[in-house]
Each structure stands twice: as structure tokens, then as C-alpha cells.
Amino acid sequence: MTAIELPPVVELAGITKAYPGVVANDSVNLLLHGGEVHVVLGENGAGKSTLIGVLSGMVTPDSGRILVDGEPVQIRSPKDALDLGIGTVYQHSLLVPTLSVIDNMMLGTAKLFSLDREQARRRLDELASVLGVQIDPEATVGDLALGERQQVEIVKALWRGERALILDEPTSMLTPQGVQALSEVVRRLVGNGLSVVFITHKLNEALDLGDRITVLRRGRNAGELAPDKIASTERGDLKDLVVELIFGAVDPDMSMNQGEGGSLDQQSVCFRLEEVSLHGDKPWPVLDSVSLEIRRGEIFGIAGIDGNGQKELAEVIAGQRKLDSGEIFLDEESVTGLSVAARQKRGIRYVTDDRHGEGTVGELSISLNTVLKRVGQRPFWRRARVRHSLIREFAATLVAEHDVRTPHEEVPIANLSGGNVQKVVVGRELAMEPRVVVYNKPTYGLDVKTIKAVLARIVSQANQGTVALLISTELDELISTCDRIGVMYQGRITGILDSQPGIETRLGELMTGGGEPA
């Protein structure tokens, strides 16, 4: 097979890109061959977006080379990339919905004073036949179905040349039929000699479509599967291989929950979700009949790739979002209809993953942020009048207990580092008799030391009998902290496993939709 392999049309060699505090791409290599679908797989934060950014001219790498047909080139802007025939279809539409298809095509390509509609129309026909689809040039983009709109996006990406096409998670908004149509289009394109880069985190899709697979992990190449390897390996083994490449091995010294397991079974179920559903703007429900039973003192993990309904689940429990059907029970009492404040009072707490956006008010002091969810309540307010000394005292205790590093508690919270803000937020939610605490990615963006502190806090709180729901994308963190782990995929709990070393492959399969028949 290697004999007929064509030389790469685009080659990325040793691409490195660092942002403050994180190396997004660390000497990453990527070879794009004509006539091939090259799937790039990886978790959130593995470096996929940065790599696409480099290819499409949105990101300038710190070092590394880009070769097109063997010649070194510079891609300084999206225009450079398009001129080289490298087009990108992003997750979010860049078409103008109120304009027609043909007008969208001419945007940005037409000359200043001439609008050559005829030529544009010929190019559209030409590309439509390459894709093997019918496109009405006069249709208004906003009226098209999502799948059709995507075809228009592809045409637009190829408008100035057809060397390589990058599709960034192109199936995330598509129905199964839409996915089928897309894969036919992709097949036709590579049949015409194009190189297609297909970014995804769905395993089945990757295996169905990919001629070649590159896996990124923590900004580096974790491995590449060449076409002959893919062809010669059985599908089940291939899955295991890819999952291992994506998630890596678990760090063994993070275990925390050992020794507590046995006594949990005697504890009664304290918190229960019954068939909770929520509809959003996607073709499938955001939450699809989610049922959970969690015992007193249990840490229940929710694993999943970002955007599979975890945030919505947390918000539904907190009361920030109304569910469409289903019930939530705390000690067999329904809390479904209660407001955020009422749930807060009953001990249902939510540590949001968006600590700067919604968790805190940056301009306010640390002390006021510690009572953000208790404004107007006793003892901090009496007859609607604020009692600053009590608030300050409460904040000082919290700052000391949670080891928040700050000169004093009247500093605007925006002045604190992310880790210290997180300690304040966690401290706030754990104060005053928590019963159920939802932690949404509580260690996101923190340094190793703070991560350990936060996880230790979660464990010690659970040991006092509090129910914990720990949402995370980090498998090793979940396995080392949780008693059981449920996996969310497209709004459903696709499996619940007892947490123990060695389950990461199975979790990875469930997270990428591989747990179901392909």
C-alpha cells in the first residue's frame, strides 16, 4: 500500500504554540495526503483547535514549519490559507443568514466595483458537482436545513482552491441522516483527490470515515494510525487502541477514596433524579430521561466530553434552568418546582464551572462574594439593612479555612488568581449545612497543588455525609475521587460504572459514543 501513497500535499512539522500558562501545541506534526480523510482525535484541550487555527491562518505558531507541495510557506491570515487552497468549515456558521447562497459566496471574493454573478454561478455549479449535491444559488441561507447549510459552507471553503478541506466537528449539529449525507460528500471530495481533515471526538465516526488517524493528547502527538494499520486491525481492537491513545494511562498516586467503599451500601438514597428531560436547540434533547440515585456520603462522578449535557444537568439541579419533564427528590421530597434560593436553603449547592462569568462579581469584595447567594438573608442582613461586620467575619473564617491567599477579604475578588477565586466559590457553597453539592469541573484551569486541595475538600465533605455530584472531563480525577461514575453522551447517561482502576478504556468508549452499536 505504501507504494501508491502520494507525497503529502500539506505538511505541518514541529508546530509549537504556547499561551500564557499552557502549551497548546508542542512540536505537533501532521501530514495531509491528497485523496485521504485524515481524522484528528483528542479530548477537550488536547490542542485540536490550535492546530486547525495554524492551518487556517487564525493562529501564528511560535515555531515549526508548514510545507505545501513540499515548498515552505507562511500562513499569516485566513486569506493566505484560502489562497493556498486550504479551506476550513468551523463549528459555528460564518454565513450571513439573510443573504442568498450566491451572495454569500461573492462576499469577500468579489472585486470592489464589479460583481460578476455569472462567473460566481459557474464556480458554484462546478463545486456543487464536485460535492455531488444540488445547491440553489438564490436560496436564502437562513431558510436552508443545517445539513444543506453545511454543504454551502464547504463550497465556500473550497471557493478559491481545492487542496485541503478542514472540517471542525462537522457532525455536532447533524442528525444521523445528515451525518450520512456528509460522509458521502466527504468521500466524493477525497475521490477527487482532495485532502480532508476531519476533527472529531466521536469514536465511531472517526473509525467509519478515517483513512488515517492522528490522536492528540495534552498538546502532543499521542500517535498516528496509518491506512494499512487501520485496514489490518479488527474494529474492536482498533477502538481500544484509539481510546487508550486519547485518554492515556491513569496517574496511580491520585487515589483518595479507598477504604470508604464498604459502608456506602448501608446508606440510604438521599438524592434522586427521575427521568429528567430538557429540550434545547439541538436535534436531540439536551437531557434525555436522566435518572440517578445517590446515597448519603457518596461521590458520584459524571464523565463526558464537554457539551454532552453536563452543564445543563448541573443547572437543572441547582434550579437555574427549568426542566421540561421529570422530578428531582431530596430525601424523598420533590424539589422540582423550587427556586434557586429555596434549593440553596435546603442545602442544594452548585459550584459552577464559570467562576468568573457567573460565579462571582469581579468588582465586589471577596466578603460580599461569599454571601452572594444570601443577599438579604439573616444573619447578614437584618430588616434589609446590611451588617458588614458579620459578613466580614464570615468571610474571614472562610478565607482562613479554605486557605485563600489574599491580603484581606475586602479586596475586589477580580484581583485574586483563578485558584483562589475557586476556593472562595467552593467555600461559599460548602458553608452552612450543604446536603447535595454539584461540582462542575471544579479543578478546571487550576495548578496541581490547588487541584489536590479542592479534591481533598470534596472527599472530606462527602465523608461528613454530603452528597456530591462531580462533573469532570478528567478521567483520572474521577476514578481517584468518585465511588461511582456515570457517563453522559448526547444528553443521556449511557452507563454507570463502579469507580476502580482499569475502567478508563470502558469510560472512554462510553464517552465517545462507542458504547453503543455503531
Binding site: 440553596q344 457567573e358 468588582e363 469584595s365 466578603s367 460580599l368 446590611v386 459578613i391 466580614r392
Partner: protein
């Protein structure tokens, strides 16, 4: 506009700190905000002076005329104090709305509609009740009508997220037209030739203080501004409003009821505009003519920003503006300039305010980058 609102988080309002360690920094911050408020005024005066010189007028004599007539002369000073009353009440309303990020720009509409209703009611009521009852009823009615005129933008904002800048501005035009309609069709005094309401007899108007012409509305305005300042800095309700303004997502996350908060903000802020009209009618005008719109609201908006929503500073700025506009009116006449020159000065102050905000924000960023 939201950017302008931010400084009150650390200085003007959030004065939680009397904490020892925070004190020096805090004092520095307060110095800074005083400077920030005063600099644009000086810059505007300097710039206005250059304009006057370019127009061939003597800036020194213009400004000294302003001071003579607006501040030093007894008549002008009284006039300035009388003018302060409605401005302070409108400012009190804006001090509720702006920190919460609700841009109620329709106070002029709320003002005129409330004014017409109060003007129509006053002369009917006055012969039958004593002064206390009369003024209580007129104030309550003024407040209620002002608030009612904001119900539509309030509901559109709270339920449909519609931009209140547009809707409240629209209600000014509607309000002015509607009040003209009321004056011409329903409340017209047949004994006059121009369309106007009946006149509230001079002896039935708000009591005057200390033998001067200054009526008690000034006290009402001062008390309103100070109460609102207290409410915004010391009460749970005020903190909720500020949180909504600073970070609506956090307000929602903390379980605050955004709809009822939005409604209360609208009703309070427009109610104060209505109260302002009641005070102006019962204290000064005694009646309303068709097409009446003194446009006090638009004059107050920049003042509230210059004062950064800080109550005592609002009083100072309103006082300065009142004497400037009273003094400026006669100084403009003397210098043979249109009355609009006063507005030019206010515009200059705003431009310099924006510039100083920008410079401050930039210097903050520079520090962060290092």
C-alpha cells in the same frame, strides 16, 4: 455606556472598606474619583473659553456673568435652588436604574405625562382639602403616573429582553404627544386663549422656605437622593440592583428574580421622574401648556454619570448645573449667544468625562499587563 458604570464597584459605592489595610488604597481611590469628576469640568470650562474667544466674546466676562447671576446674586441663587428640585428627583430615579444596567432614558416622557395629570388634578382638589392632603395626593399621583408610563418598556425588557434604550426614548415622543392631547381635549382651561390646564392658585402651591421663593420641593429632592444613596449602598435591595448591573449572569446564578427586579427598577426610576413633575407643578408652574417639555431628564443623565451615581456628588453636580444653567441663560443673553451654549458646555464635559474614563481604563490595563 456599561463601562462608565463600573467604577462604582470599587469606589463610589462599594464602601465596605473601613478596613485598616484597605484604607490607604481606598483613600487613594477616593482622591482619584474626585479628580476624575473635577477634571472634565475644568477641561470643559477651558475648552468653552476657547470657543467663546473664537466667537469673539470675552470668556472671562462670560464666566463671571455666569457666576454672578447663577450663584452670587440673590435672585439667581434662589432661581438655581428652585431649579434643583426636579433635577434632584429625576437624578434619584436614575441612581436606581443606571447602576443596575437599566438605561431609562425616557424620564422626560414620564415627567410630562405625570405633570399634566397633576396639573389637571391640583386646581380641582385644592379648594376641598388642606395643604398636607393636597400635596400628598399630588405626589403619590405624580409618582404613580410616572411609573405607569414606564410599564410598557419595563414589561418588554423583563419578558422579551427588548432594548430599553430604544423603547424608553420612544415613550418620550409618545408622552409629549399624549400630554398635549390631554391638555387640548380634556383638561383645557376654557378661560384662556392658549391650550393650557387650569392654574393652581399661588397660595395653594408648595410652601416656601425662610422667606425666600425657594419652595419645599428642594428638601424633597435632597431627601430622595440621600435615601436612594443609602438604599443602593446599605440595603439588600440596592446590592441586588448593583449585582444585576455588574454581572447579570451572577445575579441569575445566585437565584435573584430578574423579572421582578427589572420591573421594580423601572417603576422606581420612572416614579421619581413623575414625582419630579408633581413638585415642579405644585411648586413653580401651577399649570401645563400643550407641547410642554422642559427636557430636564436629558440634562440630568450626564450629571448622574459625572457623579458616578454617588449621592452627595449628585447633589453637588446638580447644584453646579442649576446655577450654571440659570447663570448661563442670562450670560448668554448678555453675550448675544443662544441659550444652547449651556448645552454645549455640558456636551464638552461629557466628552472629557469619556476621555478621562478611557485614560483611566488604559492605565489600569497597562498595570495588569506588566
Amino acid at each position: 455606556m456599561t463601562d462608565v458604570a463600573t467604577p462604582l464597584g470599587d469606589e463610589g459605592f462599594g464602601s465596605v472598606d473601613e478596613h485598616s489595610k484597605g484604607l490607604s488604597q481606598h483613600a487613594k481611590g477616593r482622591m482619584n474619583s474626585v479628580l476624575m469628576a473635577v477634571l472634565p469640568v475644568f477641561a470643559a470650562v477651558a475648552c468653552g473659553g476657547i470657543l467663546l474667544a473664537l466667537l469673539g466674546r470675552d470668556p472671562v466676562s462670560f464666566y463671571s456673568n455666569v457666576v454672578d447671576h447663577g450663584l452670587l446674586g440673590s435672585l439667581g441663587r434662589q432661581e438655581s435652588l428652585i431649579r434643583m428640585a426636579p433635577l434632584l428627583l429625576i437624578a434619584a430615579g436614575l441612581m436606581v436604574a443606571f447602576p443596575a444596567g437599566i438605561w431609562n432614558l425616557g424620564t422626560d416622557g414620564q415627567f410630562v405625562v405625570a405633570g399634566v395629570v397633576v396639573a389637571a388634578l391640583g386646581p380641582e382638589l385644592a379648594p376641598n382639602v388642606n395643604g398636607l392632603v393636597l400635596f400628598t395626593v399630588l405626589f403619590v399621583v405624580g409618582f404613580a403616573v410616572g411609573a405607569a408610563w414606564a410599564v410598557i418598556p419595563a414589561v418588554m425588557k423583563a419578558w422579551f429582553g427588548m432594548n430599553e434604550i430604544i423603547t424608553t426614548l420612544m415613550t418620550i415622543f409618545l408622552g409629549v404627544s399624549f400630554s398635549s392631547l390631554l391638555v387640548k381635549e380634556f383638561f383645557d382651561d376654557p378661560s384662556t386663549t392658549v391650550p393650557q390646564t387650569k392654574v393652581l392658585a399661588v397660595e395653594d402651591r408648595l410652601p416656601r422656605m425662610f422667606g425666600s421663593r425657594v419652595h419645599i420641593g428642594l428638601v424633597v429632592g435632597l431627601v430622595a437622593v440621600l435615601i436612594v444613596h443609602y438604599m443602593m449602598t446599605r440595603t439588600a435591595f440596592g446590592l441586588r440592583l448593583r449585582i444585576v448591573g455588574m454581572n447579570p449572569a451572577a445575579a441569575e446564578h445566585a437565584g435573584m428574580n430578574m423579572r421582578s427586579l427589572t420591573l421594580s427598577i423601572f417603576l422606581l426610576s420612572s416614579g421619581f421622574a413623575g414625582l419630579a413633575a408633581a413638585v415642579e407643578i405644585a411648586g413653580v408652574d401651577g399649570m401645563v401648556r400643550a407641547e410642554w417639555n422642559p427636557a430636564f431628564g436629558f440634562a440630568v443623565v450626564p450629571l448622574v454619570f459625572l457623579a458616578r451615581f454617588h449621592g452627595p456628588s449628585v447633589v453637588l453636580f446638580v447644584a453646579a448645573f442649576s446655577s450654571f444653567s440659570i447663570g448661563g441663560e442670562s450670560a448668554s443673553r448678555k453675550a448675544d449667544l443662544p441659550n444652547y451654549f449651556v448645552l454645549v458646555m455640558v456636551a464638552l464635559m461629557l466628552i472629557f468625562l469619556a476621555i478621562s474614563e478611557f485614560l483611566q481604563a488604559r492605565s489600569k490595563n497597562v498595570v495588569k499587563d506588566e
